[in-house]
């Protein structure tokens, strides 16, 4: 990876974090993903954010609902495979019109080494749309901050379910073999 690319990569992760801070997100549920690792570090280190590691992604949908009931804003970080785990729990979001802000790092769509990532990765956006989650995509680092900020606005001001898909091309293909 060229040095210039690495600098941009740091920037978009920090731009997302800045958007979460600006929106006063107080709980961040996550299932770790390599693409989210820097953002997870930033959230864990921030005293105003409660970072909550989850055993499975649908826990985060319920966590966000509970946070909202108590007057706090939450965001969820997951990989595209985790979207499949959320499907039934999204009925909670819809039935009660809870705000939802999912930040999804994509696998299985760009220079993917592992074919097992492709079935869910290639259906992530369609699955979310089918569940009435508004989907935004980020393909370039300079769009990340404003796209996440826009999704958070839609979620918390409109009581809507939103997901921002962070393209695998943005994150960079996982290096399995040198």
């Amino acid at each position: 990876m060229a040095e210039g690319t690495a600098t941009v990569a740091t920037d978009w992760r920090e731009a997302i974090f800045a958007a979460l801070k600006a929106a006063e997100v107080r709980q961040v549920g996550y299932v770790p993903d390599a693409g989210h690792s820097r953002l997870i570090e930033l959230c864990r280190a921030d005293p105003t954010i409660r970072a909550v590691p989850l055993t499975t992604e649908e826990e985060g949908v319920a966590l966000a609902a509970g946070a909202w009931l108590g007057g706090q804003r939450a965001a969820l970080l997951m990989q595209s495979s985790g979207v499949g785990n959320c499907i039934n729990m999204l009925s909670l979001t819809k039935s009660c019109r809870f705000p939802l802000a999912m930040l999804v790092t994509m696998r299985g769509e760009w220079a993917e080494f592992n074919p097992w990532q492709v079935p869910m990765g290639s259906k992530t956006q369609a699955a979310l749309t089918l569940c009435d989650v508004l989907v935004y995509r980020v393909e370039h680092g300079d769009e990340a901050g404003e796209t996440v900020a826009a999704a958070l606005d839609m979620a918390f001001n409109g009581s809507l379910a939103t997901a921002v898909l962070l393209g695998q091309r943005l994150i960079g293909a996982k290096r399995w073999v040198k």
């Binding site: 590691p53 055993t55 609902a65 509970g66 009931l69 809870f98």
Partner: protein
């Protein structure tokens, strides 16, 4: 005719409506989340309350809603009452709760070893799965296995003063008292709850 279990006339386990009354007898401003099915009806049987958030779906999500709420409102006490089937679907959430360890959260599982809503099929807890064992292994500090009214009253007393996450398995009879149905309107329940907390 729904499939009632065999005569439980000598069954020493608690009756579920008596159990929920004991839990909520001195609730004060306790916030309550109930799992879909019987525990939602149980809570409604005691009387509706703006601080009740009833689930009618989202199976496996009750404990996590309680966690998000407890983290958001550290000054308030939060109780989750759910059934064994609902808890089994979200067992991983006990690990997540164990890690966060909010001191203001209590989870009480009404365990009749059956899926009451769907025809009384036996659940895993009717075989050899121990929910208190799972909760302990998940690092939840204070775990209770409750089988009589005195122990339940003791647990209810701790709800107002505990300084660590509480988990109780409450052994109840597999019976089906008449249903008491609260509102099924999730948007209404959400707004009512947030208004009661003055966060909206």
């Amino acid at each position: 005719m729904s499939a009632l279990p065999p005569d439980r006339g000598n069954d020493p386990r608690l009756e579920r409506r008596a159990a929920i009354r004991a839990l909520l007898a001195d609730r004060r401003d306790l916030l309550l989340v109930t799992g879909l099915g019987s525990t939602t009806y149980d809570a409604a049987s005691v009387g509706d309350d703006p601080g009740n958030f009833y689930l009618w779906g989202a199976m496996g999500g009750a404990a996590m809603i309680g966690l998000g709420l407890a983290l958001a409102r550290p000054e308030r006490r939060v109780l989750v009452v759910t059934g064994d089937g609902e808890m089994l679907m979200g067992l991983g959430s006990l690990a997540t709760v164990g890690v966060q360890a909010p001191p203001n959260l209590a989870i009480a599982v009404f365990d009749n070893g059956h899926y009451g809503e769907t025809g009384m099929q036996p659940s895993h807890t009717a075989e050899r799965v121990s929910l208190p064992g799972v909760a302990r292994s998940c690092g939840i500090a204070a775990v209770f296995d409750i089988a009589d009214e005195a122990a339940l009253r003791d647990f209810a007393g701790r709800l107002q003063s505990a300084r660590e996450t509480l988990f109780a398995r409450v052994a109840i009879r597999a019976d089906e008292p008449p249903r008491v149905l609260p509102s099924r309107d999730g948007v209404f329940l959400k707004h009512r709850f947030r208004h009661a907390l003055a966060v909206e």
